[in-house]
């Protein structure tokens, strides 16, 4: 059923995304595409892949923002994928039951065999987490790599979402928000993790960590006075300089 789980799910699996350390390399998006085009939501179709107007399904997108002005300005790389909301309207609007939220761990999934491709779920998502696969006629979304995190065939250390596993700066963390002592709960506690657009009322599971404001920053005023002088010196080096300048 597309009713949401009545009680809070015993596990609330999700991601913490650290905007302070994300460098915007897009590796998470690429590894997501790589895993998932052969995984649970396979294929992540690309249309016209070799034309000028290539388009395709990605479950993770990295936006680049500037915030603030002048010396106080900064660039923030902003990865965005499904937030696996507690009040996921994408689930309740689905007329067929294809879109559902798992009672055991809160992961929001699409059963592609039931999906009629009406796109209503994507209209209902303020975060733009769902992308329609025009080729397959069904909706695609982040599965939190459900085929990795519960996969007994993978070594335990690799049972992580592909985006988390590949991030070179550890800007992405995976864990259970229902457990107050989990890695993700502690990060949110320590770093002031927050919800995106709480005013929309979707109660997203994924949390974002803000850029650190007290980071030592390289302002122009603090730069070393000048580079070493290139004026001719005396002595041996001066003699070489005059010789080469001749």
């Amino acid at each position: 059923m597309t009713d949401l789980p009545a009680a809070p799910t015993p596990k609330q699996l999700g991601l913490v995304i650290d905007l302070d350390v994300c460098v915007g390399c897009h590796a998470c998006a690429v590894n997501c595409k790589e895993w998932n085009t052969g995984g649970h939501p396979a294929p992540l179709t690309d249309v016209r892949p070799y034309e000028d107007d290539v388009a395709g399904v990605w479950l993770n997108r990295i936006h680049g923002f500037e915030v603030g002005d002048g010396a106080a300005g900064r660039t923030v790389h902003f990865p965005k994928s499904c937030l696996h909301c507690a009040d996921a309207a994408c689930v309740t609007v689905c007329p067929t039951g294809a879109s559902y939220k798992r009672i055991e761990d809160g992961i929001v999934l699409v059963d592609e065999d039931l999906c009629i491709g009406c796109k209503l779920c994507s209209w209902a998502c303020p975060y733009g987490a769902r992308e329609y696969d025009a080729d397959g006629g069904v909706m695609k979304k982040c599965t939190l790599c459900i085929d990795r995190i519960y996969n007994d065939n993978l070594p335990e250390a690799e049972r992580l979402p592909a985006c988390v596993a590949t991030c070179p700066t550890s800007a992405r963390h995976f864990g259970d928000f229902a457990d107050p002592d989990s890695n993700v709960s502690r990060l949110v506690e320590e770093r002031g993790g927050y919800d995106l657009m709480p005013e929309q009322g979707y109660r997203p599971t994924n949390k974002y960590l803000p850029p650190r404001l007290d980071t030592k920053r390289f302002a122009l005023d603090d730069a070393p006075a000048a580079l070493a002088s290139a004026e001719p010196a005396g002595g041996f080096l001066g003699w070489v300089d005059r010789l080469l300048s001749g």
């Binding site: 905007l19 007329p95 067929t96 733009g128 006629g137 929309q200």
Partner: protein, 314 residues
């Protein structure tokens, strides 16, 4: 939002069909239309065709039309499923109403079934409105005027078609004409109120709340995640120039609401063949006008996700 032509066609034609059924169901048993079986067959048959064409058009919007039958299962949570259930369930009273009109002499039963038909049609149209009205990320749809407008547009276009059918057999009723005029005026005022409401409305979210980068200054998009268009930018990022919107609003208002109003008044005053001509013109105008109105309903709607793509407000 990108105007989906199949959905626009669906809501305008099925709206007119259900609207006509409401007028027939409520007023034919009260003797405001001929009791003749042929009239009933043509009028109810025409409504069913309008509804059917609309429902078929809506299926062309789907990625998997062959699975459309699944879309009634989640009526407990989904207004789209409720609309499907209401649409299918309403075919029972509609069919019975038509059969009783054509084959039965019992007016009492016909009246009861007629009124049930009207209620079923109203519920179906209201469900369609609720699909849009409950979508929070689109403030131009998540608006208290949306459901009344869907209902009033259906009642208005239904009335215009009802007038056309009754005028064609010289049975146009002045009393009912005034009820119809009230409906057209109400639809016109509701649409104006809706436009004022969305023009005055403010974006619930901002680029700052969308990114959570609050208190650091203005958030500006530096680079999009992708160099080409994607599903989100095509489906949700559709934009209409303000000057075109203003022009189209005037067109919709004149063709969709004012023309039917004036033509209905003229028809009521003239009666006879002139009245029929006015009714034909009114039906043409209301159809084209509501297609423009419904196109604008999509084109003027902005989705919250555009905040991630450089929009300051949505």
């Amino acid at each position: 939002m990108n105007p989906a032509f199949s959905v626009i066609l669906f809501t305008t034609t099925s709206g007119a069909g259900y609207g006509l059924l409401i007028w027939l169901g409520l007023f034919a048993p009260l003797d405001f239309a001929p009791r003749a079986p042929l009239f009933g067959f043509v009028a109810v048959g025409f409504s069913v065709v309008l509804v059917g064409v609309g429902l078929l058009a809506s299926m062309f919007h789907l990625g998997h039309p062959e699975r459309a039958w699944r879309a009634v299962s989640q009526w407990r949570s989904s207004w789209l499923a409720r609309e499907g259930v209401a649409a299918i369930a309403s075919f029972v009273p509609i069919g019975l109403f038509g059969l009783l009109w054509v084959f039965s002499g019992s007016t009492a039963l016909w009246l009861v079934v007629g009124w049930i038909t009207a209620v079923a049609a109203l519920i179906t149209v209201a469900s369609t409105g609720m699909i849009y009205g409950t979508l929070k990320p689109i403030r131009q749809w998540h608006n208290p005027w949306v459901v009344p407008i869907y209902l009033l547009n259906a009642l208005m276009s239904g009335y215009v078609w009802f007038t056309l059918f009754t005028a064609a057999v010289g049975r146009q009723s002045a009393e009912l004409g005034f009820v119809g005029l009230v409906v057209v005026v109400a639809a016109l005022l509701a649409k104006r109120a809706y436009w004022r409401s969305i023009d005055a409305g403010e974006s619930l979210s901002t680029p700052e709340s969308a990114t959570g980068l609050v208190g650091l200054g203005t958030v500006r998009l530096l680079e999009r995640p992708h160099t080409e268009e994607n599903y989100l930018s095509q489906e949700m990022g559709y934009r209409i120039a303000r000057k075109h919107a203003a022009k189209l609003r005037r067109l919709a208002m004149v063709i969709g609401y004012l023309a039917p109003l004036v033509l209905t008044l003229l028809g009521l005053a003239a009666g006879g063949p002139l009245g029929l001509a006015a009714a034909v013109l009114a039906a043409l105008n209301v159809t084209v006008g509501l297609l423009i109105e419904r196109w604008l309903f999509f084109a003027e709607a902005t989705h919250t996700v555009t905040l991630y793509y450089g929009a300051r407000a949505a």
